[in-house]
């Protein structure tokens, strides 16, 4: 029977939860990296026991962790006792250094700060780790201040794909309320050269040549906080999702507005339809029904909790515009949690499982595509991210 493994990053550590395919009884381990913020954990599709985790703290910065046994044990991959030829410690796995080389990094200088002035790029943390679809030792990292890094040695060392920051719009990128973060990385399963990324607040970008060159893909987005509301750059994209069977179709939860693209991001149209509010953070797509989409509406950018104190997932079976509230098993009064952008995940069992975590420490599961919900755990620290692996 198949199994599932849920990887939960929280404000004070990481948790690994496993169950058989029925998803009724769960074994929970953790907290791993207790006391540290774990923005994201994700497993390699090529080797499900290979996991990567991003732990960070305001005190001690960024640390990358790696597991080769499904989360039972962890190591800092660049942390061996050796030294580099220059005599430096090998501890490179925590080292994210922006490309400032003459050849590729020269134009990469400043971005727009909150007050509109220019500000130098400063590394703060890794928001998202995206393992390669084919190589367990290759993994991408989306970081704050926004940039994309890649490791090809199991996260022991990192190199920036500086073409993203180098295409000329960098000075117009600006931080959202959570910082200027690259939070979404989507690898196209049919085209190894195509990668989608999203940045708050710059927008979405696509490469078709493995990361050497990038183009903004924001046509159709409108943002009231911009002087030019349909500008090419500057939109606060919160998350983007794709069904692997249809990689040219993308769904986006923007700061406000739920959007859809049918041409790999070249053009977007709004599909917010009858949602009670189109502000939110998460968005995801059913594993087997590429027109079935999930969001969790949040009241507003100033009030980060569900409307009316009712925690409701909304599902569209029509690829947007027509949405139904899913409430069975979710609190329908006095609920004022948030669901952050990387805190929803979908398994690929026949009866599709949908998972999400809240800032109140609950991780909810629906094992029937959203019709009924129950908590796997309900008293964790605030949940920052949820991923799920479907295991043989």
């Amino acid at each position: 029977m198949s199994k599932v493994r849920v990887l939960v990053g929280t404000r004070k550590g990481a948790f690994v939860m496993e169950s058989d395919g029925k998803r009724e009884k769960w074994e929970v381990s953790g907290p791993h990296f207790a006391g540290w913020e774990v923005y994201h954990m994700k497993g390699s599709p090529a080797d499900p026991d290979r996991l990567y985790a991003s732990q960070s703290s305001s005190w001690s910065g960024q640390v990358i962790q790696r597991s080769s046994d499904g989360g039972k044990t962890w190591e800092t991959p660049g942390g061996g006792p050796g030294k580099s030829p220059q005599g430096w410690p090998i501890g490179e796995s925590n080292k994210f250094v922006y490309d400032t080389s003459e050849r590729t990094g020269k134009p990469l200088t400043t971005h727009q700060f909150y007050d509109g002035t220019q500000h130098p790029w400063e590394f703060k943390r890794v928001w998202h780790l995206e393992p390669s679809l084919t190589d367990p030792n290759t993994v991408y990292a989306g970081v704050e201040d926004a940039a994309l890094f890649r490791s090809t040695d199991g996260a022991a060392s990192w190199q920036e794909l500086s073409g993203l920051r180098g295409h000329g719009t960098g000075p117009h990128w600006q931080p959202g309320a959570g910082g200027m973060c690259l939070h979404t990385i989507i690898l196209d399963p049919n085209d190894s050269g195509r990668i989608y990324i999203a940045i708050s607040a710059a927008g979405a970008f696509r490469t078709d040549d493995g990361g050497a060159t990038w183009k903004p893909i924001n046509r159709g987005l409108r943002s009231q906080f911009l002087p030019d509301q349909d500008a090419e750059i500057g939109h606060c994209v919160h998350h983007v999702a794709m069904n692997p069977s249809r990689p040219g179709v993308l769904f986006m939860q923007k700061h406000w507005d739920v959007m859809r693209s049918d041409d790999a991001g070249d053009n977007w149209r709004e599909v917010s339809g009858n949602l009670p509010t189109d502000f939110g953070f998460v968005i995801d797509v059913h594993a087997h029904e590429p027109e079935t989409v999930y969001v969790v509406p949040i009241k507003s950018d100033g009030e980060h909790y569900p409307p009316d104190g009712k925690l409701r997932v909304y599902r569209s079976r029509t690829g947007g515009n027509e949405w139904e509230a899913l409430t069975n098993g979710l609190p329908q009064q006095n609920c004022y949690v948030n669901v952050l952008r990387d805190a929803m995940a979908i398994d690929s069992l026949d009866s599709c499982g949908v998972y999400f975590g809240t800032t109140g420490g609950q991780v909810y599961l629906s094992s029937n595509a959203g019709d009924n919900w129950s908590p796997i755990v309900r008293d964790l620290p605030p949940v920052l991210s949820v991923e799920v692996q479907t295991l043989p």
């Binding site: 006391g35 005190w59 001690s60 660049g78 410690p89 501890g91 925590n94």
Partner: protein
């Protein structure tokens, strides 16, 4: 022999308990102590001082002999009591936040 006390989170990361003991070649300074610490525990690289600028991370402080050494030059000599191992070099997390 230099004695170093790490904050609890970094003790966990370095997989050590209690104090760390280091052999430092030459004069004991903040820089030479941290170089020796990172050489012995590479997973601490970047967690106490920035990888590139080598600046102390702002939420960490350096104390010894009941003095705050955080703003001393990284190449200034540490007190004799630290250099001889009589007193530990304390790396302390700022109390703010949590």
């Amino acid at each position: 022999m230099i004695r170093v006390v790490l904050p609890p989170h970094l003790r966990t990361l370095a997989k050590v308990r209690g104090e760390v003991q280091l052999e430092v070649e030459g004069r004991a300074t903040q820089r030479s102590v941290l170089d020796a610490l990172e050489a012995q525990y590479p997973m601490l690289c970047g967690t106490i001082r920035d990888h590139v600028t080598q600046q102390r991370r702002p939420f960490l402080r350096f104390f010894a002999c009941e003095e705050d050494l955080s703003h001393e030059s990284p190449d200034a000599a540490l007190p004799d009591a630290v250099a001889t191992g009589l007193e530990p070099f304390l790396i302390v997390g700022a109390i703010a936040g949590g």
